[in-house]
Symmetry: C2
Subunit: 191 residues, 2 copies
């Protein structure tokens, strides 16, 4: 039976049949509807999520009451408030499905147990975070280099499938724009 | 003999005497002067650095020719262009000492060998990247939430030692400000 999470892990580390049988036991598979909340803000962040299907984002509410997306996960990517998850602390982010999604969820306790009981998985997560860390630093470089208009155009060229799928108001805040400004840019592009 | 790198690793994983003896052999210890370049831009990023003493930053040159700091490492922190290092690709960042520094340097080949030959180190690097990844996402949240003035004040409150040590023009670009603007803010604060 194909298994998205195992398929993904197998791309980064070799899995024994024993490990393949055991890893899924650490997780819960959730089917969530569009806009359903996986982890609410102002609670202890004790969950890490892997997206099998759909799209999930993490947003916080700024002082003006505007919801701002800081992270996205499409198929085969992980999402959590990593800083809060690492220390099992309160998060100010809400983790929410953007579309109907299928998600593998692991608690902090089970995650810690997985890493201790199956140390081979350390290498997989090391690679996930090494890649994610590098990507976020590149995102900061982009924010510091390009005008708001260029940020949008560059992003659209690099991730066209993403721009198609994600609602405009969410995409705007993720790129540091207002939805109104993004709407103007899109109209300009079509004209 | 105290050993900054081993002391740091020991905070995150347990080390056997055998491992303690072997880890330093994967690294070179470098003493570098202020402004000395550890890794030049437009070369293959095949080095990861741990700062024992001093301060190191990574900067790139934007299209206006302005050097912008994207990362810093004080004592007991790692620095590289992680995205380029992971794939052993060309980097557009220069890694440079901000002060006279003592640095442990590991090549990509030796890093890969260390992780394979001593899998216990996977857990250490997984934790480093998990912490770093979370911290950079928080930095993006700050950039999206606060005014430029607030970014500086928040940063000064959280990392006063850092603001004291790092030259103003470097600190300014790291916070997404111009040196002139930062200079005004500092004057305002003193008055």
């Amino acid at each position: 039976m194909p298994h998205s999470l195992l398929d993904h892990i197998r791309k980064f580390i070799s899995l024994t049949p024993e490990l393949e049988a055991q890893i899924p036991e650490y997780f819960e598979r959730l089917e969530v509807g569009k806009k359903e909340v996986l982890l609410p803000a102002n609670t202890i962040c004790n969950r890490l999520f892997f997206v099998e299907k759909g799209c999930v984002h993490a947003f916080f509410t700024d002082r003006q009451g505007v919801e701002k997306s800081v992270q996205f996960a499409l198929e085969n990517w992980w999402i959590s408030d990593y800083q809060a998850f690492y220390k099992k602390k309160m998060t100010d982010s809400t983790i929410q499905a953007v579309e109907d999604s299928v998600v593998w969820s692991i608690s902090k306790e089970r995650y810690d147990a997985l890493l201790v009981e199956h140390p081979a998985t350390e290498s997989y997560f090391r690679k996930m975070y090494e890649i994610g860390y590098g990507a976020v630093i590149t995102r900061i470089k982009y924010l510091f280099t390009y005008s708001k208009e260029e940020v949008f155009y560059n992003f659209s060229e690099q991730f066209p499938y993403f721009v198609q799928r994600v609602p405009q108001y969410i995409l705007a805040t993720y790129l540091g724009l207002t939805p109104e400004y993004l709407s103007k840019l899109r109209a300009k592009r079509r004209s």
